[in-house]
């Protein structure tokens, strides 16, 4: 039973959408943020995400526990990250080209191994209801918050704290900003980058598990709509700051929810144009936050795209 909220249905649906749609953005962008802060870029996260979605779904189905599925997705993502990190340490290997190759590999492997799991139904991740105070069913629905979203928020703040207050975080920043300085204080840039890339991959795997185990909550080949790639743009927009990644992910989530929200209030024509909102937003933000004459502030100095 739904109440008629009129035009208010759009912001309510967008709020719900922001929370629901933003979670994968949040995890992938935090992963990419961590990897890029160590001075390496991983464009393969889209492939990692889709493979994580498949692996998470398959393991959740086989084991009967959604959480075991999430762990499996994280492990699968970490393996992809390790592979990328290991390959990139060789001289002459370009991290951008390698990332694109890994993206295609991840997609291919996921489709290959995922075929038998398109039909079966795996358990879903639980959601926590924050809408108990409201009488309005739409608001209740919007405030159904998945546990992973909360984990993501905590992770964003934990990462921000780590970059400032933990030796590990400072070391990642040192390696990302100046490999020479890192060597001077006895750090091995390759090792730090290897593990940063692995952790980034694990985050992307979790993002995939969220897609297949919660929203939309099934495994098929068209599951991802480019979240893994857009996260790269999102990290640049967030200026490599984890807390900014959180807000950027919410913004992208809200933009992604715009199309479906308009559909619910009865826009019958042209609403599908609004499905493109996240992509348009990506483009517009990148154009307006860049400047031809200025070095990008906050960019890790060792990053191959900003060097």
């Amino acid at each position: 039973m739904t109440e008629d909220l009129g035009i208010w249905a759009v912001p309510v649906a967008m709020l719900g959408g922001a929370i629901r749609v933003s979670t994968p953005f949040l995890f992938v962008s935090l992963g990419e943020c961590l990897t890029e802060r160590s001075g390496r870029i991983n464009l393969g996260l889209e492939g990692t995400l889709v493979f994580g979605a498949m692996a998470g779904y398959a393991i959740a189905f086989e084991s009967g526990s959604a959480w075991i599925g999430v762990v499996a997705a994280a492990l699968a993502g970490a393996v992809f990250g390790l592979f990328h990190g290991w390959l990139c340490r060789f001289k002459g290997v370009n991290d951008i080209a390698m990332g694109i190759a890994l993206m295609l590999l991840g997609l291919g492997l996921a489709f290959f191994f995922g075929k038998p799991y398109i039909q079966p139904v795996a358990p879903d991740l639980p959601a926590i209801s924050f809408g108990w105070w409201s009488e309005i069913p739409q608001i209740r629905a919007a405030l159904e918050v998945n546990a992973l979203f909360i984990v993501g928020i905590l992770l964003a703040f934990a990462m921000a704290w780590m970059f400032r207050n933990a030796a590990l975080g400072l070391r990642i920043r040192v390696v990302g900003d100046s490999a020479d300085a890192a060597r001077a204080i006895g750090l091995s840039p390759n090792r730090v980058r290897l593990w940063s890339t692995a952790a980034g991959g694990a985050f992307a795997g979790v993002a995939g598990a969220y897609l297949s185990l919660y929203y939309p909550g099934s495994w098929n080949e068209g599951l991802s709509s480019g979240q893994g790639l857009m996260a790269v743009a999102l990290v640049i927009f967030a200026r490599w700051n984890p807390v900014m990644c959180l807000f950027a992910a919410l913004l992208f989530g809200a933009a992604g929810a715009l199309g479906p929200a308009l559909q619910t209030v009865g826009f019958t024509s042209g609403y599908y144009l609004f499905f493109a909102a996240p992509y348009v937003l990506t483009l517009v933000l990148l154009i307006f936050t860049s400047s031809p004459g200025k070095a990008m502030e906050g960019a890790p100095g060792e990053l191959s795209i900003t060097k």
Binding site: A166, R173, V174, D177, A181, G298, G301
Partner: protein
């Protein structure tokens, strides 16, 4: 209490294949002194300190620390023995703050950093030091002087008791240099550290060093107390023979205005403040020197003039015509450039020396543009220019990127100084060149001026500005802070405007 370390090298020899970079160097650096290491580029100064710091392992000879033989396997080893080095290229991490840089460089940095206690410890540590570098600002927003101080503080913080400073004042104003060096000197006199100061500035040796060792072509050619040596004696040791640098002859009077910048504005490389050049003119037969500490907008100024940086306001005129630095304009108005970092800004690194020498005219024949290249003619021209400018290249066919910095500089000079030139825009033309090459470059610049070429000379070397310029302007924080005829000002005045407090 004497904490400072004494250090001796004994018969230190370093060979790279057939080339002997360091030949049987024995020198003694007494604890608690400032010991200057003098020498030209390529004299072996950096090889010697790299052997001390464990970057290289000497082919023969050894190291005594406080009279005991010591083996330094790598820089980490050196650190443990109390040896530290401040490099010319800073090893600070740009995006980290001063405090973060200090704490993370410690080998025993705690896993979780409690900033309250660390800050208290840092403040206590800094309290009895003469330096007070900013701790809360990211290094990328520090001036060169602040970075230099932070580097030195970092070494002290890490417990170094023997400090090698590699040309520490090359990025500082004269006043900043004096401040840093006098603090260093005070620390040495207090018995806290021993300093090995690599430099080529006699003034610094004279005012701040106790002893000096002079290297030439890998050999130790002289050593002794600074008080016992005259500048002339030290110069003779460095160069081999007395080279009386001829006073460059100036002839002619300035002609019409060739280059004029009016209210030209452009965004800066970093920071919110942009570059604004209100009024800058260069006349034919005149050298205008732009002095300034690196990072005050000189790079941007050069980029505005070469068309690499788009103007957001105002204009640049050459011979009365608006100038946008297109290839056609540059050719027709006879403008030539020598930018800083010529390998990056003025060459195609992977193309051959001959091709790089031909970049100005390869597609132009006597009548319009040409399509087919005449390789033989290109090679002939290249050989001639290589000889004229004494470029040391194994052959004209090797990629220019394989040449040493000084030879890349000579190659670009050879290209830009050839042919008909009306306006020359040069930035730090003598950077990385040895004594004789410097004299040759400056002589060519002066000859060009006397022929009636208008020259804009952007340089961080104040001596060079005073030697060459007819008119001096000072660039500070993106704008021109001062302008005067060269005869009507002096280094102290220019220096104070460079520092931005005048």
């Amino acid at each position: 209490m004497m904490q400072a370390i004494g250090l001796e090298t004994v018969g230190m020899t370093m060979r790279f294949g057939a080339f002997t970079a360091l030949d049987n160097v024995t020198t003694r650096i007494k604890p608690g002194t400032v010991h200057a290491l003098l020498g030209e580029n390529g004299a072996g100064k950096s090889t010697l300190v790299k052997c001390i710091m464990g970057f290289y392992h000497a082919t023969e000879g050894g190291l005594l620390i406080d009279g005991h033989e010591a083996r330094v396997a790598d820089p980490v080893d050196a650190q443990r023995l109390g040896l530290g080095m401040v490099y010319q290229h800073f090893t600070l991490v740009p995006s980290l703050t001063g405090a973060e840089n200090l704490v993370i460089s410690r080998a025993d940095a705690p896993q979780v950093i409690n900033w309250n206690t660390e800050r208290a410890a840092l403040d206590a540590f800094l309290a009895d030091l003469p330096f007070q570098p900013p701790l809360d600002r990211p290094v990328s927003r520090m001036s060169a002087g602040e970075k230099q101080k932070l580097e030195i503080v970092k070494q002290l913080y890490l417990g170094s008791r023997f400090l090698i400073l590699d040309e520490p004042t090359s990025v500082l104003t004269p006043a900043e240099a004096d401040e840093v060096l006098s603090h260093i000197r005070a620390l040495c006199e207090g018995g806290r550290i021993t300093v090995l100061l690599i430099t080529h500035k006699f003034r610094e040796v004279r005012s701040f060093a106790d002893d000096v060792t002079v290297l030439r072509r890998g050999k130790m050619v002289g050593s002794g107390r600074v008080a016992d040596l005259s500048d002339k004696q030290m110069a003779e040791m460095m160069m081999g023979e007395t080279i009386a640098r001829a006073e460059l002859e100036r002839t002619g009077t300035p002609g019409s205005v060739v280059l004029a910048m009016k209210d030209a504005q452009a965004p800066a490389l970093s920071g919110p403040k942009g570059i604004a050049i209100d009024d800058l003119t260069v006349q034919a037969g005149q050298i205008v020197g732009v002095a300034g500490i690196s990072g005050n907008g000189q790079t941007e100024l050069m980029e505005m003039l070469t068309g690499q940086r788009t103007l957001t306001g105002g204009q640049i005129e050459v011979k009365g015509q608006p100038f946008g630095a297109t290839r056609t304009e540059v050719h027709d108005l006879k403008v030539r450039y020598l930018p800083e970092e010529p390998l990056k800004n003025a060459s195609a690194p992977r193309m051959s020396v001959a091709e790089n020498l031909a970049l100005r005219e390869f597609d132009r024949g006597p009548d319009g543009s040409i399509f087919w290249q005449n390789r033989r003619k290109m090679l002939r021209t290249a050989r001639r220019r290589i000889d004229d400018f004494e470029v040391k290249a194994p052959s004209p066919h090797v990629p220019i990127a394989t040449l040493s910095g000084g030879n890349v500089q000579r190659t670009v000079l050879a290209r830009e100084f050839s042919g008909d030139v009306d306006l020359l825009i040069v930035a730090n033309p003598c950077f990385g060149l040895d004594f004789n090459a410097v004299a040759a470059v400056r002589e060519r610049l002066m000859q060009a001026r006397n022929r009636g070429v208008a020259i804009l000379l952007i340089s961080e070397d104040l001596d060079e500005i005073f030697e060459l310029a007819d008119r001096i302007v000072v660039m500070s924080e993106g704008h021109l802070a001062f302008a005067a005829e060269a005869g009507a000002t002096h280094a102290g005045e220019v220096g104070s405007y460079m520092a931005g407090h005048a």
